[in-house]
């Protein structure tokens, strides 16, 4: 900071600061003005000679003294205040209120403004206005009051105040511009860092793709078929990983730039989950997923495609962070908060402390920032951003640490330590609009696309629930599975 820099003497071997050069120039101008005033002065009074003498001495000392104890700001302020006092004294002793030396006030103003130190410029402008009033007040007591004298004082005072106003407006603009520049610099810097991190992450799958394909190509004849197959599997998986990362990056950019518009519709979540499973690359992963839907789970008000993207990315995260053979449970049901539906993903050995899950760990952090911090985990970052875009919530629930769900505790599952949870808003059917009730989970899954076309749909797992809904509102079409209890 320039203001904290110590002033160096002009004779010091170190570099002469710009402020010192400016002070030197100001001193030169003032000395010239003072000498000219001395030569032109008609009444050579002792007071006038004293002011000129003190002024010249002050200017010389202030310009060339090595001010090692002053910061630049303090020194500048001291110079400006003394200049005002000196000029006021000069004007008064020279010829009182009628003098053209009034204009000398603009010297300190210019001195401050030329260095683009607008705050000092405002200060000196106001000081000048005070100086005019002071000279006018003292002068008027000893000289005849004429219209010309009053007009002169008023004009100078008002112009100094206007100048202060002008500098004030300018300083606000300057501040706004500086803030904008600062924000722009920050955005550019974080964008560059993001790209640099992402390009680094892209190199990880690329290393395997380039390396193993080259090994296959060069050692085709020496490698046995098992190794060849293994290499091909690695190349395939890493290519898919790379493709996903590119897609994630494009998605996060679309979300950040607000280019993603949601096409909201009633979404049956079980149906969306089954579609999302198709997005998983390995059939073995699909077979690990178990879905359970609570009765009376309402449809979500969401963009069906984006919900599938959220689900597939969260499933991939759960697969990555859990035991490779253990089942992954997806539970769908009403959320604790009103008018929201919740999806809970449970996988054995999934840990809330796992770094892979970090984009979901902090509920307050901005999704895009979290993704920037962890370019490796773009997928979960995108899932989070999409849920938040829907007006939902996404978090890691570590309360499963000591609470394996009863049905899993009985089975072969080792229990759960963490769950990925997210909510979506419930689709609110318009009053009196047609409604479809799905009275079978299988049918709901199979016919989801058809039955959710109305303005409202409710998935009900048991026939009784379907009847409950039937009594409350009159559906235009009711479908029931004949095998229901």
């Amino acid at each position: 900071m320039a203001s904290h820099r110590k002033l160096q003497g002009v004779f010091s071997p170190q570099a002469v600061p710009r402020e010192k050069v400016a002070a030197g120039l100001r001193g030169l101008i003032l000395v010239t003005v003072l000498l000219m005033a001395r030569l032109q002065a008609s009444p050579h009074t002792l007071a006038f000679d004293l002011v000129v003498g003190i002024g010249a001495a002050y200017v010389l000392v202030s310009t060339f003294l090595p001010w090692s104890h002053f910061t630049v700001r303090r020194a500048t302020l001291a110079v400006l205040v003394t200049d005002i006092a000196l000029i006021t004294a000069l004007i008064y002793t020279q010829s009182g209120i009628g003098s053209d030396y009034y204009l000398l006030y603009y010297l300190p103003i210019l001195h401050a403004s030329i260095r683009l130190n607008l705050r000092d410029a405002i200060g000196t402008s106001l000081l000048s206005a005070l100086g005019y009033i002071l000279v006018g007040f003292v002068g008027l007591r000893s000289a005849p009051i004429t219209v010309e004298v009053i007009a002169r004082i008023t004009t100078f005072t008002v112009s100094a105040v206007l100048l202060a106003g002008f500098f004030f407006v300018l300083s606000r603009e300057q501040r706004a511009f500086e803030q904008l520049t600062h924000a722009y610099d920050g955005a550019m810097r974080s964008k560059t860092e993001f790209l640099s991190r992402v390009s680094h992450e892209f190199r990880t799958p690329l290393t395997a793709i380039v390396g193993f394909s080259q090994l296959l190509y060069e050692h085709n004849e020496t490698l046995d078929t098992d190794h060849q197959h293994e290499y091909l599997v690695i190349i395939r998986e890493q290519s898919q990983q790379l493709a996903r990362m590119i897609e994630d990056m494009l998605d996060i950019t679309r979300i950040e730039e607000s280019r993603l518009t949601l096409k909201r519709q009633p979404v049956n979540l079980q149906d969306a989950i089954e579609s999302a499973l198709m997005l998983l690359d390995r059939p073995a992963d699909r077979d690990r997923v178990r879905i359970s839907v609570e009765p009376r789970t309402p449809a979500a008000n969401a963009d069906r495609n984006e919900v599938e993207q959220v689900l597939s990315r969260l499933l991939l995260g759960a697969i990555k962070c859990s035991d490779s053979s253990a089942p992954i449970h997806l539970k769908v049901g009403p959320a604790v908060e009103e008018n929201a539906v919740q999806v809970t993903i449970l996988a054995a050995a999934m840990d809330a402390e796992d770094e892979e899950l970090s984009p979901l760990a902090d509920p307050t952090a901005n999704a895009a920032e979290r993704v920037r911090d962890n370019a490796r985990f773009l997928g979960l970052g995108v899932a989070r951003a999409l849920v938040e875009l829907h007006g939902g919530r996404i978090w890691l629930d570590d309360s499963y640490v000591s609470r394996p769900s009863p049905e899993e505790a009985e089975g072969d599952s080792p229990g759960y330590r963490a769950a990925i949870c997210f909510t979506l808003p419930v689709y609110q059917a318009k009053e009196g609009g047609p409604q479809v009730i799905i009275a079978s989970p299988r049918e709901a899954a199979k016919r989801g696309k058809n039955v959710t076309m109305g303005s409202g749909s409710v998935a009900a797992e048991e026939g009784r629930n379907g009847q409950d809904h039937d009594r409350r509102r009159r559906p235009v079409r009711a479908e029931a599975d004949a095998r229901l209890p």
């Binding site: 680094h200 990880t204 290393t207 395997a208 793709i209 380039v210 390396g211 080259q214 090994l215 060069e218």
Partner: protein
């Protein structure tokens, strides 16, 4: 010794060295800290070292190996996806004899490994 947290990168480096026709005894570790622990009992001729690893990164590991008189003669090749000049300079300054940017060509890696081993053993 191969030190990299990415299992595919470790596997690739291992297979590159196995398929090149020379006999190497290879150890693999996925953490910098484990590498330092293993160096107390094993004495490899060369370490292929990644930079970005959890807990202890590659640069401190490199500096520690080179700073310890007992392990200072081990050749180190840094293999990293951080291919900026800054990282290369850091790696070389901490004592690495070479820097291989990821993705790499298997032949190139093998050539550099052989060169580093030859430079280590005076003819």
């Amino acid at each position: 010794m191969i030190v990299d947290d990415d299992p595919f990168a470790r596997r690739l480096m291992r297979d590159c060295l196995r398929l090149c026709g020379e006999e190497f005894e290879i150890f693999e570790v996925d953490r910098g800290k484990l590498a330092l622990e293993l160096l107390a009992v094993e004495r490899p001729d060369l370490v292929l070292l990644d930079i970005s690893m959890p807990e202890v990164g590659g640069i401190p590991v490199c500096a520690e190996i080179k700073g310890n008189p007992a392990t200072a003669d081990i050749a180190i090749i840094v293999v990293s996806a951080h291919a900026d000049n800054e990282f290369i300079a850091d790696a070389l300054a901490s004592g690495a004899s070479d820097f291989v940017p990821k993705p790499f060509q298997p032949n190139d890696l093998v050539r550099r490994v052989k060169r580093a081993l030859e430079a280590r053993v005076p003819a």
